[in-house]
Subunit: 203 residues, 2 copies
Amino acid sequence: MRKGLLFIISGPSGAGKGTIYNEVLKRRPSLKKSVSVTTRQPRAGEVDGVHYHFRTVDEYRKMIADGGFLETASVYENYYGTPAAPVLKMLDNGDDVMFEIDILGARQIKSRYPDSVSVYIMAPSMQILEKRLRERGTESAQSLSRRLGSALSELKQYKLFDYIVFNDDVKTSADKVLSIIDAEKCKIGVNEDKIQQILKENS
Amino acid sequence: MRKGLLFIISGPSGAGKGTIYNEVLKRRPSLKKSVSVTTRQPRAGEVDGVHYHFRTVDEYRKMIADGGFLETASVYENYYGTPAAPVLKMLDNGDDVMFEIDILGARQIKSRYPDSVSVYIMAPSMQILEKRLRERGTESAQSLSRRLGSALSELKQYKLFDYIVFNDDVKTSADKVLSIIDAEKCKIGVNEDKIQQILKENS
């Protein structure tokens, strides 16, 4: 059976990757998501196994030692990670999986699973990225400057990504991500088993 | 300015590549076609420069000698070829170009212009390909058997192609080709100039 494809959506704060990710999932409900593992405390209404898999620090560190993560990072003293086993199982079942993840996570996943397809969502220009961040109204001058610096330093690592989508508007960008998904499923390498089977049956 | 992309549509007789090609052109009128050069006589209603560029054998051979073709072939004592200059000019202008061409032509274009994107249109199975050829009602048993043999021998060369579309129905297949076109325009390599420009303007 054909294996599923793993898609990574990444991009700087303010580019709109989260909105595009949700729009793509809405329009392609067959895409699977991954439930992250974290060591932080559940917030009100969060359900273990639905929003996150909540684990103790010891349990988490054991999972790291066992190679149990596709990617893992610590943010403000808490660990967050993508567990490998359920994702690899979904791919083996032929399901396509999509993650929204930062560039460090994207790098880890690409190195662990080189067949993954990575898409970088960027604003059409740095000026527009700055405008979008300012319009949030939540960024201090320092935080704004830091985020713009990160965006540039990430963009320098563009070769990590297979595709880039300059996000003018969400609908068009979601169309592009869906086109990328559909095109990747037509790649010769992805269809090699089916081609070999036709050749075998008719040789 | 961003260069245009060159798309090649190929596939065996009966797979439906011509129908898909026309459907894609209809839905994406911005795609440019190439006018072939030929040494055969114009038929009633055919206009030089519109349906074909009609040339004498001597003129054609001189174009071959000058490297003037992206691909050239002779069919029943006549030459047919895709002139390089107008296509390269369209690509330089940023226009995307799409050809429907046989596998020999596809191989020549790929070798002459490795950045071209090649899509192989195949029936969902050899049985369906045979059924479609039979239903044409124009194939002798000998011709049918020859075409099926060619289809298999072409399919063995699948690595020449970047993508394969198994043509169940024209609309879905045209959707897939359009997705391939849109995805290719998001490829990192295609957008490298724009990324470098953003980095340069903000360094």
